[in-house]
Every structure is written in C-alpha cells, then in structure tokens.
Symmetry: C2
Subunit: 282 residues, 2 copies
Amino acid sequence: MVVEKIKDVREIIKSQKKQNKKIGLVPTMGYLHEGHLSLIKKAKENSDFVCASIFVNPIQFGPNEDYNKYPRDIERDIKLLENQGCDLVFIPSVEEMYPNERLTTITVSKITDKLCGAYRPGHFDGVCTVVAKLFNIFAPDIAVFGQKDAQQVAVIKKMVEDLNIPVEIIASPIVRDEDGLALSSRNTYLTYEERHAALILNKSLKVAEKLLVSGERSAEKVLDAVRKTLESEPQCKVQYVSCVHPDTLEDLTTIGDKALIAIACYIGNTRLIDNLLWGVDE
Amino acid sequence: MVVEKIKDVREIIKSQKKQNKKIGLVPTMGYLHEGHLSLIKKAKENSDFVCASIFVNPIQFGPNEDYNKYPRDIERDIKLLENQGCDLVFIPSVEEMYPNERLTTITVSKITDKLCGAYRPGHFDGVCTVVAKLFNIFAPDIAVFGQKDAQQVAVIKKMVEDLNIPVEIIASPIVRDEDGLALSSRNTYLTYEERHAALILNKSLKVAEKLLVSGERSAEKVLDAVRKTLESEPQCKVQYVSCVHPDTLEDLTTIGDKALIAIACYIGNTRLIDNLLWGVDE
C-alpha cells in the first residue's frame, strides 16, 4: 500500500495499533538495493506491520551536495518493497513534509562534529529533524537503520535517548556485493573503472580486521595500515580514517572490547563510506 | 497519584490509553497558583486523564537567572493538584530527566529571537527540549499552556507543527489577582512596595485596550502609550514593549484582526511579563 499523505499514515497506523500490531519503520531515501531490503527483512523479524518511507530529504544535503542528482526510481522501489513484504510505503512530497517555513531543528552536538559530520555541516541536523518527524508520524515501536551509516546510527540512538522517544533503534549489518563493495545508492555514480577502484575501501577494512584478529590493539597502527591500503589505489582520495567507540564516537588510542573503524573516500567525484564494527554482535 | 519515574508514567499512560482515555498534560515548574489550576481545569474540560508535571527545568535558565532560587513547595503543589482533580502528578528529579550527558537540543529559530527570547538566550531551546521530552513520555492528546507566556505558546505550537508532534496545544487565558496583577510564581519575589508598583503592567495594557477599543490601529501609538504608562512608575524598568502577530510574532505596524501586545519589565530585581491578546477568542 502506497501512501502520500501524513494524515492517511496516521489513520492506518492507528487502526493497526488498535489490533495490537507492533509497528516497524524503515526510513529510506529510495533507489533501493539489497541493503535496504535487508532492513525490511530485519523490521519484519521485529514487528508486525512494516512501513518504509521513501523521501530524499532536502535539508540533509549541503548546498554543494547531490540533492538534485540523487538517483530516484520510485516505481522500481515500490515493487521491491512489496515483494519484500513491506506493508506500507510512505512517499511524501517535499511540500507534505515541509509545508510551511520550517523553523525547528533538532541538533545532536559533539558526536556530529567528527567523521562524516566534520565534512557535512548541517547534515545530521537534517537527518535528526526528518527522522523525528517520521517517528512522530508513524509512532513506530522499532525502527531499522543500516549500520553502513554508523555515525547516523549513533546519532539517532543518542537523539532517541535524550528526547525519550519511545522507539527501539535496530542497526542492521552492512550488505556487500559479491566483490565486497558495500551497497550504496551512490554506487550508481561510479564508472566501470571507479567501481573497481572502490573495492579498496573494503580491502582496507579487511586489513584492519586481520590486524585486530591477530591481536593488534593500537588504533594508530591499525589506522596507518588502513590508510596505506587506501592510498595504494591511485583513484582513491581519503577523506577520513578513524577508530572510535561505536556509541560515543570518541577516538580510541587503544582498542578495547568494541571499536568502529570508519572510512570515507572519494573515488573520482563520488564520496563513499564504509566501516568495520569490531566486538559488537550484529 | 504522584509518580517520579518515566517508566512508571509510561505504564500508567499505556493502561489509560487502552481504556480509550484521552490524555491531557499540563507541564509546570511548580509553586502553583490559580493560573496553573486554571490550566488543569482547561485540561479536564478537554481530556479524560489529566497529568501535570512539576519540574524546574535547569536547561531553560540562563547562567545569571534564578534557577537556584526559583520558589519550590512540592507538598503544597501536590495538594492543590489533587484538589483540582488532577489524575497524575509527575515530579522527576533532574537525574531522571537528564541521566546522561545531553547532546540533543531542539531549536526554533526566528520567533525566538525577539520578545523574551532576545533577553534570554537559550531559554526557548531549553523549553522546547524539555517539552518535547514530556510529550514523548506522556504522548498526550492535548497539552495546556498559559497564555501569560505568549511567546512560549507560539514557539511550542511552531515546534509541534514543524515536527509533526501528534498533540493539540491549548492556550489558557491569563489569570489575574483581584488588583489586576497577572499571577506568576515569581510574584513571590516582590516586596510589599514592589507588589504595588507591579500593577503598572496591567494598567499599561488597559491603556492599550482602551485605545484599541476606541479604534486606534497604529502599533506605534499604542506602544507609546503603553511605554509612557510603564515609565510613569519609578520602580518599573521596561525591558521591552512589543506589538506582534500572536502566531508569527512578526512586528505589526498597523494592527489588523489579531495582535499581541507583550511587555516585560523589571520591578526591582524581579522580571515580570504580561500581555494583551487582541482579536483572539480565548
């Protein structure tokens, strides 16, 4: 079922809640791939009525980012979601989501100053604000986000905690292509050659994993190895390589029980991110 | 019933909602007077299960404001609320509301830059953040706020609209003492002499009302008359005198259907506010 209006969503959700159905929400920006579909699967395992939203949220894109050229294929998305057993697909217009001059912004400080946040000022304000809106529209019991956007998961969890939003946030593992490239709607921007060069991201994380498995606990040593691997690919320009705690996103010097190795690189003009979550059951 | 823990509130509300009870919320900072009790009355008229919160919210006080000396009398408050037929009183500790380092802030821009917001930087961030938390804890159908804090009403309505929070905001008219002074917990700071001098606030609004009734539509003329009246009282130091639209808080030059004449003054060391809502049914 495809719904475009907020008031229609509210009515449907109300009737589902009356039947004691647990509501699951998967917010997306569309142009879906197997990664998104794994989120729907995860939502189905954890709720009774699974909703997805498709909304390319203008306020989370910077002025020089790819809002206008962000890939869209709504018809295909709807089919994929229905095949996956998604019960409701919410596809609002920009006017439906932002009908009047918006004055309200939700900001999560500190943990948004680093990793992607350092290079995308205002991005997480836009993410938090739209996600809070979706939570208020759906009142979901659970919401599923992809672990590929590890910082987004940490930021949304913190927002939910700080604002007492009654929703359980579930992070779902990264889905990779057979060759190891993390799935992303932005992979469509890559030329054939760049697509091949992009494999260096996953390769560099494999190097990190090998070091961790062998007992290396110095973040500096692990990060050096990751960076060297990335720099071995001439088409790869590293934006950041970080080793942080997965919840607080605080930089680690010594790697303890849990760590997140997060990277962002440009391959040509396409910015890609990837990460390795260490010591956390997924 | 007095409740201190968020999880207990959630359980009680859940059971009330199962009985299809409409939930009403009146957020307060305690030290209650007839003004607060009128909010409870209004909530009872508009819902089935009326909740009040008493929480002196530290994050809405500036560093030089009166957080520590803000008056408190919890035992008296509880009795007053129970006598008024309030069903649940939520009295959380600061640790219950802010257990970990808070990183999340809700900001409403533009309409918070003026009136009280201009003199209390960060105040409305604190208000919006705590009110959103209370809305997430109670999931009320309606929430009642005093029209005395006219800017607060406008800011919360805008936040609710922008974030799609499913709650109806009801503003309740100013309650005055017999001599015309708007009730405020901060009136307790006034000496006997200051209490008398403070009557000038209401008197100045009466002057404005008289002009409006007589057909005056120039905001400048009305505001001049208000200011002159206030300045006739030697103990009164005017902070602002404004004539704005009650929803957008935009300054008016010509007064149309609706207007808000809002004033803030110091009487001695005590900051008092008052306002006249013109052309709006209360």
